[in-house]
Every structure is written in C-alpha cells, then in structure tokens.
C-alpha cells in the first residue's frame, strides 16, 4: 500500500465534479461518519434488547438498561442516528452532483450536523433516564426534538437552493425522490409530534397518527432515499442508463400517491372505524405498482451486468438493497391483508419484516453510497478489500439469519396463539431458540459494521492507507483509453 498523489486533472467536467465533491466533503463525511457510529450504538442496543428476550436476567439489575428503555434507544438511534444522518449525507452529496453545483451553506450544515448529533445523544440520555414519551418511533423527549428538526431545516434549504441553482436542464429520477423526502419528512415529524406528544388529538386518533408516522418514516423517508441511491448507483457503476426512464417516473409518482395511506394497517383489529383499516390495506396493496416498476427497472438495467457483482463492492450492496426492496415490499403489502394478520399480527414476524426492510434494503444502499462516494470525496481508496468483503457477507448472512428466525418463528407463534388448546407458556418456550438466532444475526451484523467502521476511519486518515491504484483514478485511465480509441477510429 503506497500513497500516490492524484494525476493531473482531465478536462473541465472532471474539474467541475472534483470541485462539487470538494465543496461537500466535510459535511458529507461528518454525516456519513457519525451515522456509522450511531449504527454501532443502535446495533449494541439491539443486541442487548435481543439477549434480554431469551435471557431476561441479562443486565437485569441496571435500571437504565431495562428492555423498555434500551429497545427504544435501539430503534431511535437506528432510524434517526443512522438513517437520518446517512440519508441526509446521501441527499446532500447526490443533489450537489446531480445539480452540478457546489454545496451551499457549508458552515451552517456543519453546525447543523453537530447539533443533530447532540440532539440524538440528548434524546438517548433522556430515554435511558426514563423520560421516553412512550410513543413508538417518537420516544425522544420533546425537549430534544428541536435539536433534530432545526438542522433538518438547514438541509431542506440547502437542497432547494441547489435545485434552483442547478446547471443541468433535466431533473433526474433520484432528484425527484430526494426533493420529496425533504418536503415529506418535516411534515411527518411535525404533524405526528403535534398529534401525539403535544396532544392535538386524543384516543384512537393518536394511535392513527402514531402509526401513520411510524410507517411513513420508513416509507417516505428511508425508502425514497434508498431508491434514489439505487437509481444513481446501479446505472453509474455499470455504465448503462436505466432500462426504462418512463417506468422510473411512474414508480416515483405512484409511490408518492399510495404510500402515505398504508400506515393504518398496523392497527388491524384495533378499536378504529373499519374504513380506516381498509384504507391502509388498499394503500398497501396499491404499493405493488411502484414496487413492480422499480423491481423491473433495476433488474432489467442489471441484465447482462451481473458478473460485475464479483468485482464492484458498491454494486454488491446496491443490488442486494434493490432485490430486498422488491421482496420486503411484496412481503409488506401481503402482510397488510386482514387474513394474513390473523396469524402474524402481534408476533415476531413483524419484527422480521421491519429488519428485512431496514437492514436488507435501506442500510445496504446507504453502505453502497458510502463505498462509491468516499473515495471520490477523500481522493483516496478504501484501505482493505477484505474488510469490504467481511462487511458484505456479515450484512447478508446476519440479515438472512435474523429475518428467517423472526419470520418463521412469527408464523408458528401466530398459528399457536390462534389455537386455544396451546398453553401460552409453550408458545414462549417455542420462540426461545429463534430469539437466540436473532441475537446471533445481530452479532454478525454488528461485526460487519465494525469492519466497515475500521475501513471508514482509515479512509478519512489521509495518506496512511492508500492503494497504489485508486478506483476513481482507474476510471480516469479508462477514460483516456476510450478517448484514444475514439481518436483512432
């Protein structure tokens, strides 16, 4: 491993791209780097929660690590700490690249990134001290929320500033998703906080607002960012435009129209008007339209290029994320059906589905974004191909073990719960080995995250661990060959 300086810049477009990447470097590295730290915290908290389910005495004497607190820390650090920061870093970098403009308000965004992290830290401390609001996905104490909302306003402003200053004529499909996220997410958070923790509505209306938010924070925040990343990375890495650009736009607009209605399927069987549940079920089934369009598009774009999965780390994670998007979305739509929920509602199956989406679809696409973006932002290559492979296989194997254990155990658990002849304790005993498998899956996932974290720390450590032939510079060398060949012809 020998450090090598960059070769001379080639052409104005290369220089423009380097300038755009340079302008976003500090902000994006801050967002991505801290997102990985929160993923580590989230994984540790998740493993502790998981162990407590099959070994209830584990850390049982420590008040601030009781299941109700540590489980909330796990989910909130995963969705806001990892998801919020990774998605925001992705949004800012992709938007700057696609608009071909420098990232504006760099210092404001840096301060915003720091404040956002402080907000999450304070929220975690609040939950551990017993000040959780008790509202699913909005457990952070109210006093911590402004520290998350205000920095996000900076991100929204930066996003729109870049869009309205863009040099490019067209709006790429990823940009549609990114613009939508910045509109939807603040509306979601503010409305849900108003309707739950601030008490604008009471009773079952609060539950509706809660699950409208709980479902949409995944579907209208994490999902669009993941799809935006896939629509950029897959064609960009394999050097082939999207199979059908028409389908990609149909996917975006149908996603925008239908996803919002799906949340109430979480309340099937609850004391709500039947039409609200039916609305959620219909919304969930309509999601087949965007999911099929996106699935077809990604698959057809990849057709003929699957061999590149052997050689491209970005593509491995991006394709894994895209394939799981289709599978987990199909699973989610079917899960909304009342007949399905008769068995799986209130079982581990739902937990399996959430992790299938978050760790099988969203997280791999954020990892893919980082694997592609970091060498270009830092002007140096990842230090270890072995660590990348460890990360990939740990993510895939850990996720599969987790999802299989939870979904299989959930179905069996649901069938047994529907049989009044089966004692409840027998059902609990049946699930214990699968809860153990879940812990194993979580430990494997955490091992992958640690491998990635080591590689990430190395790449932001200048001139220490650099390959002699950085990937992005290889691209430039290839470009020279293409130009030379064209000249010969």
């Amino acid at each position: 491993m020998i450090a090598q300086p960059l070769p001379p810049a080639i052409g104005p477009e290369f220089e423009a791209r380097v300038e755009v990447d340079g302008s976003s470097r500090a902000v994006v590295v801050l967002f991505w780097g801290t997102s990985l730290l929160w993923l580590t915290v989230a994984s540790l908290a998740g493993i502790i929660s998981s162990i407590k389910l099959h070994s209830p005495d584990f850390l049982g004497g420590i008040e601030w690590l009781t299941f109700g607190r540590i489980r909330a820390v796990h989910w909130d650090t995963a969705i806001y700490g990892f998801g919020g920061l990774a998605a925001s870093g992705t949004l800012l970098w992709l938007q700057a690249r696609l608009c071909q403009v420098r990232l504006p308000y760099r210092n404001l965004l840096l301060v915003g990134g720091v404040v956002f992290n402080i907000g999450i830290l304070l929220g975690v401390i609040g939950i551990l001290m017993g000040q959780s609001t008790g509202v699913e996905t909005l457990e952070f104490p109210l006093w911590a929320m402004p520290l998350l909302v205000v920095p996000y306003v900076f991100i929204v402003i930066a996003n729109f500033t870049m869009y309205f200053k863009k040099v490019t004529k067209h709006t790429y499909v990823s940009q549609w998703y990114l613009m939508a996220v910045t509109v939807w997410f603040p509306i979601l958070v503010l409305s849900a906080e108003a309707c739950t923790n601030l008490g604008a509505v009471d009773g079952v209306a609060q539950a509706i607002a809660n699950w409208w938010y709980g479902h949409n924070v995944v579907g209208l925040f994490a999902t669009p960012t993941g799809i935006a990343a896939a629509y950029y990375l897959i064609p960009k890495v394999i050097g082939k435009p999207i199979h059908s650009y028409h389908l990609s736009l149909l996917g975006f607009w149908s996603n925008a129209i239908f996803y919002n209605w799906a949340g109430t399927h979480h309340l099937t069987g609850g004391p709500l008007p039947a039409w609200t549940i039916t609305l959620g079920v219909v919304g969930s089934l309509m999601m087949f339209i965007p999911v099929i369009t996106i699935g077809i598009n990604h698959h057809m774009t990849m057709l003929g290029s699957f061999h590149l999965l052997k050689t491209s780390p970005t593509l491995r994670f991006a394709v894994m994320g895209s394939m799981v998007y289709t599978l987990s979305s199909f699973q989610g739509s079917l899960e909304a059906l009342r007949s399905h929920q008769e068995v799986t509602h209130f079982t581990h199956y739902t937990i399996g589905h959430v992790h299938f989406g978050m760790y099988g679809f969203f997280a791999p696409l954020m990892f893919a974004m980082m694997y592609y973006g970091m060498p270009r932002l830092m002007d140096q290559e990842w230090s270890s191909a072995r660590l990348i492979r460890i990360h990939f296989w740990c993510t895939l194997v850990g996720m599969l073990i987790y999802v299989f254990a939870m979904c299989y155990a959930g179905i069996r658990q649901g069938l047994m719960m529907n049989d009044p002849a089966v004692p409840f304790l027998n059902i609990v005993r049946f699930t214990i080995p699968y809860l153990g498998l879940r812990t194993l899956g979580g430990v494997i996932l955490l091992s992958g995250t640690i491998a990635f974290l080591i590689n990430f720390i190395r790449i932001i450590t200048p001139h220490k661990y650099t390959w002699a032939t950085p990937t992005l510079l290889d691209s430039e060398r290839d470009w020279r060959k293409v130009v030379a060949k064209e000249k010969e012809q």
Binding site: T171, S191, G239, Y245, S312, P313, Y372, W467, T471, W479
Partner: protein
C-alpha cells in the same frame, strides 16, 4: 379538521407540482434524462467501481 385541511392542502400541492413538472418539460426527452449521470470523463459503457487494489 386540522388533519383534513392538511391532507387537502398537501394533495393540491402535489397535483400542482405534477402540473408544474409537466409544463417545465420534465417528462420530455426521457432518453436524455436517463443519460444525464454520465459525462465525458465517466461515459456510458464505463464501469466506475471495483474492489480496491485488485485487477479488474
């Protein structure tokens, strides 16, 4: 009332945005749109990622 007004405003905004995008020609020249991620240095046909330090 708050939720219904909010839903109505959001719905109208989305329809307005769709109309704005159509007027702006965002749904024309789809072929050009799909290729905007490529440029002279990273043209279509060029693979731009592989494992570090390994032959392609």
């Amino acid at each position: 009332m708050f939720i219904w007004s909010f839903a109505l405003i959001s719905g109208i905004t989305m329809v307005w945005l769709l109309a704005w995008a159509i007027r702006r020609g965002e749904f024309q020249n789809m072929r050009e749109g799909a290729r905007m991620i490529f440029d002279d240095q990273e043209p279509a046909g060029l693979v731009t990622d592989h494992f570090p330090g390994e032959p392609r």
